[in-house]
């Protein structure tokens, strides 16, 4: 289980209703259902991942969130989760608004592009960073809207989105303090709990 997903769990109330945007093979949703007894629904567009998620016993709907989420009624879920997908959608700001229309709260995780490693890579080599967390070349990456911790918080400010809690995950477990103290420099993954 990815570290950011472990962090998310405590913000999800037992027995609540969860929509997972970009649920992948359903590993996280399955764990939520098992440990938090949630009623989950996943959205995914990758056929193989959908098959895997269904094999885990999950409810999954094949739907491209970039094409809109208007089929979901207002406030019909307790929590809408989007883990590591914000940077891959065409209109991240619209998806965020939709998350908070559909859910009472939203949880977003994304890779922080301002991490010192990225800055060093770009600064010294002058090329787009390729790392363990972002293992793609610029031309074949699904990640088309990279942002930083500061960028995300500025967008929330601008759109009147409240940040209820945030968690910063650094690249080592030994020094979580660095990521909390200077998130934009040391957070590899940023995790936000948001609402309107």
């Amino acid at each position: 289980m990815r570290l950011d997903l472990t962090h998310i769990q405590r913000w999800i109330a037992p027995g609540s209703k969860v929509l997972d945007l970009g649920c992948g093979d359903g590993e996280f949703l399955q764990r939520l259902e098992a440990e938090r007894d949630v009623r989950g629904l996943g959205l995914e567009i990758d056929p193989d991942k959908i098959n895997k998620a269904v094999a885990r016993g999950l409810n999954v709907v094949e739907q491209d969130m970039d094409a809109g989420l208007t089929n979901f009624p207002d406030q019909s879920f307790d929590t809408v989760v989007m883990a590591h997908a914000l940077q891959a959608v065409h209109y991240p700001d619209r998806v965020l608004e939709e998350m908070l229309r559909i859910g009472r709260q939203g949880i977003v995780t994304f890779p922080n592009f301002a991490h010192w490693n990225c800055r060093l890579y770009l600064g010294s080599r002058g090329r787009m960073p390729v790392s363990r967390f972002m293992p793609y070349n610029w031309y074949d990456t699904p990640n088309i809207h990279f942002c930083t911790v500061k960028d995300f918080e500025a967008l929330c400010e601008e759109r009147g989105i409240r940040i209820l809690a945030r968690d910063m995950v650094g690249n080592t477990h030994r020094r979580p303090l660095l990521a909390s103290a200077w998130p934009n420099l040391f957070a590899v993954t940023a995790i936000y709990l948001i609402s309107h």
Binding site: R39, L41, P47, I50, N51, V54, A55, G57, L58, N59, V60, V61, E62, Q63, N71, F72, P73, S76
Partner: protein, 378 residues
């Protein structure tokens, strides 16, 4: 015969003497249903699956009737040991619907009032009539609650109607390549099919059995039109292209050229008209046209699905234009808004509407994965 077949099966039949009040207001005093079963019913009677057939289907869904049969049942790709509807785990019931022409009471059966075949006087049927008659079959077989009710196309309509009429009697509803109601274009195709039959002099206003004639040409034409709508443009292009069966298109060649697709359609039409009853075809297409899931729920499919208490699997196929993926999406969106558990996928396939009968790897894998969940709840 391959190893993953249910093998040789024998149809059974049951007669119901209790009258059935139909949606049209008329009453069938008694009726017979012919059905097949595959697999074993478990001791708690919780592993039964109902398969509902489509327009021209029947009870013979899997396996073979004799060792010499050239082809297995119509859904043999999906029913059998190791297949999506795995007969090592499920007790599968497949029947010929009321009004059918493969053994269940229908227009070719004798009208008890006259002793002659019902013909065109057989009562008009709605999808709900089939559901009620299937519920009686379930009672007869001692099945209180189906693990799943499953159907493609018109069969999917029956499965959805089950979920609304008998919410406590199914745990899962599997709706494949179906719709909550037909579009005008769809009804139009059905009307052409009916007109083809009715304008054949052999139809004799539906009394062809009494008059010893047959609307064979009309029925074949109806099937040809239908068949085109079940295939995609691409599927027909790759199967036939513009290949000629006879003649040539050379200048100076007087013989009229015939395309492969022409002879294929004629073959399909003739095969069908030799094995299907014209009145049944009219009755079934009308049931299709009349079906409207949400009509009695103020045309609100969300309100309709709130009646349901089962989980749903909805599947569509990318090139199906007769029951297009958008029709399936309407079902899914209504289920989401009604807060009902739903899984949905649009399967990439070239085969048009017929894809639901084809061994498409992603389709079988996903269907099988879902049925695994159904099994675990048995």
């Amino acid at each position: 015969m391959n190893t993953s077949t249910v093998g040789i099966v024998t149809p059974q039949s049951v007669r119901f003497e209790e009258p059935l009040l139909l949606a049209c207001g008329r009453e069938l005093p008694s009726y017979e249903l012919v059905y097949e079963t595959y697999g074993e019913l478990n001791s708690t009677r919780s592993n039964a699956v109902l398969v509902c057939h489509a327009l021209s289907g029947h009870h013979h869904a899997a396996g073979y009737h004799t060792a010499d049969d050239r082809k297995p049942g119509w859904w043999d790709e999906c029913i059998g040991p190791g297949k999506p509807i795995d007969t090592r785990h499920f007790f599968v019931v497949s029947l010929n619907n009321l009004g059918g022409c493969h053994g269940s009471t229908g227009p070719v059966s004798a009208n008890p009032a006259t002793g002659a075949p019902w013909g065109p006087d057989f009562p008009s049927l709605r999808v709900r009539d089939w559901v009620h008659s299937q519920a009686r079959l379930a009672d007869y077989l001692g099945i209180d609650c189906w693990a799943a009710v499953i159907g493609g196309s018109l069969g999917g309509m029956q499965a959805m109607r089950w979920a609304l009429l008998y919410p406590q009697r199914l745990r899962h509803c599997v709706v494949i390549a179906s719709a909550m109601r037909l579009s005008a274009q769809n009804i139009a195709f059905n009307e052409i099919a009916r007109q083809a039959i009715q304008s054949d002099p052999g139809f004799a206003d539906g009394h062809y059995l009494a008059k010893n004639t047959l609307p064979a040409k009309g029925l074949a034409l109806a099937r040809m039109v239908g068949h085109i709508t079940y295939l995609s443009d691409d599927a027909m292009a790759s199967k036939f292209g513009r290949d000629l069966r006879s003649g040539s298109l050379e200048l100076g060649d007087e013989e009229v050229a015939e395309f492969q697709v022409q002879s294929y359609l004629r073959y399909q039409g003739n095969q069908f008209s030799g094995s299907f009853d014209a009145n049944t075809y009219i009755l079934m297409t009308q049931a299709l046209d009349f079906f409207d899931l949400a009509r009695e729920y103020a045309d609100d499919p969300v309100a309709a699905f709130r009646e349901a208490s089962c989980s749903f699997l909805v599947l569509s196929f990318s090139t199906d234009w007769r029951f297009s993926p958008s029709r399936s999406r309407e079902i899914v969106d209504a289920l989401i808004a009604a807060d009902r558990p739903v899984t949905y996928a649009e399967i990439e396939a070239d085969d048009g509407h017929d894809a639901f009968l084809m061994p498409i790897p992603r389709y079988l894998a996903l269907f099988g994965a879902y049925m695994q969940r159904v099994k675990e709840g048995c």
